[in-house]
């Protein structure tokens, strides 16, 4: 179109017929979703940090072994899943379908491992320590509310992410989806990893029990 327009007058990317950000609409949509979701998590994290700082009696139930060791392992697993995801996206752009599917499979496996280890962590807190979202033996009910609220919303994101990656892997495997679709799912997965980079230090490392 630009050859029909007066030189320099309407030839900006904003004059229509072009993609101003040089990305497809799915990717822009995912970015906008990620920004809004990050504000949801930010609100929860700020609320948690507020009550954590204003309560000197905040419980410290996480002993180095097994809680901190477990959550550190979960961090390692999630970071590694981001590495396999980014390598999967790179393979998809190179057109290497087999390798892409292998990396996506590994990413899903890491995601599942994260959910399973996290579930054992929840089990210990709920069954052994008798912590619920409303009460706990340490007399600070907000502990359970913020812990299960934050980690529960994150775990929901990981679970949905594993399903999303499964759909993308299936679609990419049979040629229905393009490399761009793998890249967009990668954005979501890295975001889930990024959120854990805040939850792990703020929820776990701020409540370490060194006596245990």
């Amino acid at each position: 179109m630009s050859h029909l327009e007066p030189e320099g007058l309407l030839s900006t990317p904003w004059s229509g017929g072009a993609s101003p950000f040089a990305i497809n609409s799915k990717k822009l949509g995912m970015w906008l979703f990620i920004i809004s979701d990050s504000l949801t998590f930010s609100a929860l994290l700020v609320a948690y940090a507020y009550v954590r700082l204003s309560n000197p009696d905040w419980p410290r139930p996480f002993e180095i072994w097994p809680a901190i060791a477990k959550s550190s392992l979960m961090t390692f697993i999630l970071l590694s899943s981001s590495l396999t995801m980014v390598l999967g996206v790179a393979s998809a752009h190179r057109g290497d379908r087999k390798k892409t599917l292998r990396y996506l499979g590994l990413t899903m496996l890491f995601g599942l491992a994260f959910v399973v280890i996290h579930a054992t962590e929840w089990y210990t807190l709920m069954v052994v320590d008798h912590v619920t979202p409303w009460s706990n033996p340490w007399g600070v009910p907000l502990f359970g509310g913020t812990f299960f609220g934050l980690t529960g919303l994150h775990m929901l994101h990981v679970t949905i992410g594993v399903g999303y990656l499964a759909v993308v892997a299936w679609g990419f495997g049979n040629g229905r989806f393009k490399p761009e679709d793998v890249e967009v799912s990668g954005l979501y997965w890295h975001f889930v990893d990024l959120v854990w980079m805040f939850i792990f230090p703020l929820v776990y490392l701020m409540s370490v029990n060194l006596k245990g």
Partner: protein, 107 residues
């Protein structure tokens, strides 16, 4: 921030070596965070250091894993400043109010 790479249609996606290096640095920063948990720091200082380290980690993830460093500068300007502004608005009520409550408690 590359303003041209994506605009002309070529997509720089980085190399395996680069991604592995980023992964290594993310692990190293996590190890520092876990080490900090062993030091008995005051909660406000501890929280500030941990959030600072986490911000560095998220910058690494957003820049390299999420490719924002290789995208058009306009996309970065569209997304990040508005998000940072909103988070700052949330933080306004956090300091010093959350610490002031500590002083109001009967000792």
């Amino acid at each position: 921030m590359s303003a041209h790479g994506a605009a002309v249609g070529t997509h720089e996606v980085g190399t395996t070596k680069l991604f592995t290096q980023v992964w290594f640095w993310l692990l190293a920063l996590t190890a520092i965070e876990v080490f900090l948990a062993y030091l008995r720091l005051n909660p406000a200082l501890m929280l500030t250091i941990l959030v600072g380290l986490s911000l560095i980690k998220s910058a690494l993830i957003i820049s390299y894993f999420m490719h924002l460093r290789f995208e058009h500068l306009g996309l970065f300007l569209l997304l990040i400043p508005a998000m940072v502004f909103c988070i700052c608005m949330m933080l306004i009520m956090m300091f010093p109010d959350s610490l002031r409550i500590l002083d109001l408690r009967p000792h």
